[in-house]
Each structure stands twice: as structure tokens, then as C-alpha cells.
């Protein structure tokens, strides 16, 4: 077995006695695309909070490239090569599209070099390239706050890619997007696989199906089962979780 890029071992998170995650085990191979689904409250976002350092698990360990991420602050984890896209688009509304991307692409992230350094030609090219991918060239000098919801989602994905992380964590990238935008987003994520490892969280089944990836089902803070979309959808436990007791989450 090759060494995993990311490995979660026996992760538990408890909020005042409520177990948001329970003995969660999950590992991702380099270059893999993985979807994580689960009903509301299954612990999907908590699970990303643990990986990115926002939340410290009550028990267990998170290994990235074989190194533990526990006790590392968020910005160090980000510099190690983990990028995160949030559920609702979070871009810097008072900066332009170009400046948002420059923040992500920028190689120096410490204060002193940023005081005097301009953007290098390489960084400029990357920004232009990223704007091309998400079709925002026309909006380069527009403040991000004036973009539409879909454009913000894409800008944030572009910022994520611009960070050139080894692992991309993508939380509900298609919430509020049109069908066409959803399809384009799926294609975009698929095109990243190989160079990057991508973990997508969503509960839009059609979107997950389009990703043609391995799927992990999260339920009550635990991985219920893993497999392809077809296997998942015929698994009686998944059907029970999604249809038997929890109509609205399907």
C-alpha cells in the first residue's frame, strides 16, 4: 500500500458531550478525487475544521504527508499545502478579483517581503491563467463584492487552485449554482485531479455522480461506508440513513 497523503486516525470531536465525530478513519491517496456525502449534521464541516486546524479533535490524529497536523495553526497547515473552500463563498469583498487571486497566488505570505515586493511575472501569469479558467478576465478590476453568487464560488475555487495546494478541500461548491454552472464546476474539479488530491463535500447526488469518484458516506460522525456511487446507492444502510429516517436530506 502506498503512503496516504492524508490520514485521519480515530478522530473524535465532542462539543460538550455531543459527539460530532466518532472514531472517524479516512485516508486519501495522492492524486485521488474523493466525495464525502452525508445527511445534515453528519459532521461533514466539522471534519474539514479538524483537518484545517480550525478545531482540535478530542482524540485521534491527523497525518498529512506523514506528519501530524495537530497543534498547528491554520496558516501553517495552509502553507503545508492544504487549501479549503468554504460552504458559502468567502472572498475578500473589498478587493478586486485580481487582488483576491494575488493574495492566494502570492509566494511570500509574511509581512516584510509583502511591504516592498511587487508581483513577479510568474505570479502575474498565474493570475491571468486562473482568471481565464473561471472566465473572470473581464471582471479583473471589479471588487469581488459586486460579483454574482456563482462568480464568487468560482473566484474562490480559483483562489484555492492558485494556492497550489497538494490537497483541496471543497465544501459544497455547487450550492446555489445553476445546472450549467454545476456541470462546469464538476469538470473543473475533475481536471484538477492527478496534480492535486481533491476532497469534495456535498449532498447534491447528481453532482457527486458526475465526479465519478469514490464516495465516503458520513453518518453521525462516522464513516458508514465507502465505494463507487452505484455501490453506495444500493447499500441498504445508506438507503436507511437517507430515505428511511431522514427524508429531507436526500
Amino acid at each position: 500500500m502506498t503512503t496516504a497523503l492524508l490520514e485521519l486516525r480515530q478522530i473524535s470531536v465532542s462539543f460538550d458531550g455531543f459527539m460530532a465525530l466518532r472514531d472517524l478513519n479516512l485516508s486519501l491517496q495522492p492524486g485521488e478525487l474523493r466525495a464525502v456525502i452525508g445527511p445534515n449534521g453528519a459532521g461533514k464541516t466539522t471534519f474539514l475544521d479538524v483537518i484545517t486546524g480550525k478545531l482540535r479533535p478530542t482524540a485521534g490524529d491527523v497525518l498529512f504527508k506523514g506528519r501530524s497536523l495537530l497543534n498547528k495553526p491554520e496558516h501553517r497547515i495552509a502553507r503545508l499545502g492544504i487549501g479549503r473552500k468554504f460552504q458559502s463563498p468567502r472572498v475578500f469583498e473589498n478587493l478586486t478579483v485580481e487582488e483576491n487571486l494575488a493574495l492566494a497566488v502570492s509566494h511570500p505570505k509574511r509581512p516584510w517581503p509583502l511591504l516592498s515586493a511587487g508581483l513577479s511575472a510568474v505570479e502575474r501569469d498565474r493570475i491571468a491563467h486562473l482568471m481565464g479558467i473561471v472566465s473572470l478576465q473581464q471582471r479583473a478590476h471589479q471588487v469581488a463584492g459586486s460579483l454574482s453568487h456563482g462568480q464568487k464560488q468560482w473566484l474562490e475555487i480559483a483562489m484555492l487552485v492558485g494556492q497550489s495546494p497538494d490537497l483541496l478541500l471543497v465544501d459544497e461548491p455547487v450550492a446555489g449554482l445553476t445546472d450549467e454552472e454545476t456541470d462546469l464546476t464538476a469538470d473543473l474539479l475533475k481536471s484538477l485531479v492527478g496534480d492535486h488530491t481533491v476532497l469534495v463535500i456535498d449532498h447534491d447526488m447528481e453532482f457527486i455522480r458526475r465526479l465519478e469518484s469514490q464516495v465516503s458516506v458520513l453518518h453521525q460522525g462516522h464513516v458508514l461506508c465507502e465505494g463507487s456511487m452505484d455501490q453506495i446507492q444500493s447499500d441498504p444502510r445508506v438507503i436507511e440513513v437517507y430515505l428511511g429516517r431522514n427524508e429531507e436530506a436526500a
Binding site: F92, A102, L103, A104, V143
Partner: protein
């Protein structure tokens, strides 16, 4: 971006030409007293520039800038007192005699040196701000909690300085106008004119320094902190570090402003650390326009000039005017006067009054571009 810059450049150039012309002409036109007032208000605009840096750009509302302002003032006054006390008993400042102190307290010793003092004026406030700021920022205390903490710190410093007669002359403060520098009395017309020029130069240097920080990529990080600090962490930046640096810088600027204010007002006392004074500082920036450096300078200058003029013939009216101004800014001009001007406010007002014709284009087309960092 370039177009927006060109469009908005001319008022800025005019404002600067007016400011520089006023400064150059002031000593010839204004009386000694008027010049002294102007010099004091210019020192306050240095403090306001620091507040604009941390509040307007980074979103940190400090209600404790008086701490750093007073520390700069005390540093300058301690040097001047020592420099003029060689004829006093024990060779130490006169006030010590009142409390039976015959030995100079140890922390006064380095202030014999003019070079140490010149550095201490900005470095001590900056270091204190860095320390206080870092403790608060690393614990991720933000928003209104940060503001309350800075105000609490201000009260602590006020009470400490107020109570320490034997160390720093307590509530009486340290006088500087009768002290000597270069063999001249600090309060003399000649010295005061010199301080006025020095202050004017320092305002311009402070403006250039802050502008350098907020333009470019460092400034973009500051705006990103204001917009969404947690998100910035996930992009690999450490906001604590950036916030500590700008808070220290604002502290240093307040110290410089405080020292210049002290030598021109003739005294430094714990009154510089009262709660209302530090809130006033914030109001200057709010009225002038947050995130527009020129707004901070003009806000400090114009509000203080207005206060000194209005108070002479209607003393009890000033607080009503200040309160009214604050309500006006909060309700109608959230970007301050300069921000309102830059957003095309005058034209919109004229249009509304029916004086100017409505523009036929898509309403906010010219606003779509990114606003240049206004300075």
C-alpha cells in the same frame, strides 16, 4: 483602475497644494497663538493617520490611542525637564522637591540623552502597542471586545500616571514651556515656530509612510483582514502578525504626535489619557473618512480648528455640534466626508437638488472599477 485614478486625482492634488500653501503661508499670516494652535492640530493629525491605518484599513477600532500619545509626550517632557534642571537642588526637576524626592528615579536616567529620547518617543509606544496588541490578537479577540480592552488599558494607564506623584508628578503633569532646548526657552516664539515646521514635515512623512504601507500587497492583506480574517488564515497568512505590526506602527505615530503636541501645548499630563480624548481621535477619522488618509488629516485639523473657534464664543455649544456631526456621519455619511466626496457625493447631491442634470448612463457604471487606495 487607471481611469478611476486619473478621474479622482485632481481634487487630491488641489487639497495637497492647499495644505502645503497653508503651511508655508501660516507663519506669515497667522498670529503666534494661531500658529501654535495649528501646529498642535497638525500633531493630532499624525495620531489620526495611525488610527486610519488600524481602523480604516485593518478594521481595528482602538479606543486607547491616548496611551501611546501620552507616552510620547512624557518621553519628550522628561528629557526637557532634565535638560533644564541643572540649577535645581540635587540637579533634578523641581517638582520632585515637593514630594521630598532627592534621587532621580532610575527610569528617568536614560532621558538625559537626547538621542535616546528621540528614539524613545516612538519606540516605547510602538513596543507597548506591539506587546498589548499581540496578546490580544493571538487570543483572537476581535471587534468590540478589542475596543473595550483598549479602553480598559487606557484607564489603567490614566490611573497609574495620575497617582504617581513621586515618579512623574501625578495629576499635575510635566511642564515643558519653561524648559530649555538649544539654550532657548521651549515656549518662546522662535522655538514654537521651529516646532511648527517640524510638525508640518512630520505630517507629510507620516502620510508617506502610511501610504506606502497601505498601497500594494501589504495593504491588500490589511483589507483582507478587515473583510474576512478567518478566511485569510486558510490562505496561509498569519493575521496576528500583520495586525501586531500595524498596531505598533499606529502606536509609534501616536507617540510622535504626542511629543509634538506636548512641546507646543507646554505640558503633558494624564489628561491626555482620558477616555473622551481618545474617543475624539476616532471621531476625527470617522468624520474625515476611514480608509482615506487625507480624510484623517483633514478630520483632525478641521474638527479641532472648529472646536477652538466655536468654543471662544459659544463654549457650551461645541459638544452638541460634535455629537450632531457624529450622528450625521453615522447615519448619512458612513464613509466620512472625503469618502463621500470620492464616491461622487457632491454630484449626487446637486442632482437630487435639481441643480445638475442626471447622468444618462447606467447608474453606477463609473463606480464599477476598483477604488484606488485614496490617500
Amino acid at each position: 483602475m487607471l481611469k478611476a485614478f486619473q478621474q479622482r486625482r485632481w481634487p487630491l492634488v488641489i487639497v495637497w497644494v492647499l495644505i502645503i500653501a497653508a503651511i508655508v503661508a501660516a507663519p506669515a499670516v497667522v498670529s503666534g497663538f494661531g500658529l501654535n494652535l495649528l501646529g498642535r492640530f497638525l500633531s493630532l493629525s499624525i495620531v489620526a493617520l495611525g488610527i486610519d491605518l488600524i481602523w480604516g484599513f485593518t478594521g481595528l477600532l482602538s479606543l486607547g490611542q491616548g496611551i501611546f500619545f501620552a507616552l510620547g509626550g512624557y518621553a519628550a517632557a522628561m528629557y526637557l525637564q532634565l535638560n533644564s534642571s541643572s540649577d535645581e537642588p540635587n540637579g533634578i526637576p523641581e517638582f520632585f522637591g515637593l514630594y521630598g524626592v532627592d534621587q532621580l528615579p532610575g527610569f528617568w536616567q536614560p532621558f538625559h540623552s537626547p538621542w535616546f529620547t528621540l528614539i524613545a518617543i516612538w519606540l516605547i509606544p510602538a513596543l507597548l502597542a506591539a506587546l498589548l496588541g499581540n496578546l490580544v490578537f493571538r487570543n483572537r479577540i476581535k471587534g468590540v471586545y478589542f475596543s473595550i480592552l483598549t479602553q480598559a488599558a487606557l484607564l489603567v494607564f490614566f490611573n497609574f500616571f495620575n497617582g504617581q506623584q513621586k515618579l512623574i508628578n501625578g495629576t499635575n503633569g510635566l511642564k515643558t514651556d519653561v524648559t530649555e532646548l538649544f539654550g532657548q526657552q521651549v515656549g518662546s516664539a522662535l522655538m514654537q515656530r521651529g516646532f511648527f515646521w517640524l510638525t508640518a514635515v512630520m505630517v507629510i512623512l507620516a502620510w508617506l509612510a502610511v501610504r506606502w504601507v497601505v498601497r500594494g500587497r501589504f495593504g491588500e492583506v490589511l483589507i483582507a483582514i478587515r473583510d474576512d480574517e478567518p478566511r485569510l488564515r486558510f490562505a496561509g497568512y498569519n493575521p496576528t502578525l500583520f495586525k501586531t505590526i500595524v498596531f505598533a506602527m499606529a502606536g509609534g505615530l501616536a507617540g510622535i504626535g504626542g511629543a509634538l503636541y506636548t512641546v507646543q501645548s507646554g505640558i503633558v499630563s494624564p489628561q491626555y489619557m482620558t477616555v473622551p480624548f481618545s474617543i475624539d481621535m476616532v471621531i476625527w477619522v470617522a468624520v474625515g473618512g476611514r480608509g482615506t488618509l487625507i480624510g484623517a488629516i483633514l478630520g483632525a485639523l478641521v474638527i479641532n480648528l472648529a472646536r477652538s473657534q466655536i468654543s471662544t464664543f459659544w463654549p457650551e455649544g461645541w459638544l452638541f455640534i460634535l455629537g450632531g456631526l457624529f450622528i450625521l456621519v453615522v447615519t448619512a455619511l458612513p464613509e466620512g466626508v472625503v469618502g463621500w466626496w470620492q464616491a461622487g457625493g457632491p454630484r449626487n447631491l446637486l442632482t437630487r437638488l435639481g441643480v445638475a442634470r442626471r447622468i444618462g448612463t447606467y447608474p453606477r457604471l463609473e463606480m464599477d472599477g476598483k477604488e484606488e487606495v485614496q490617500s
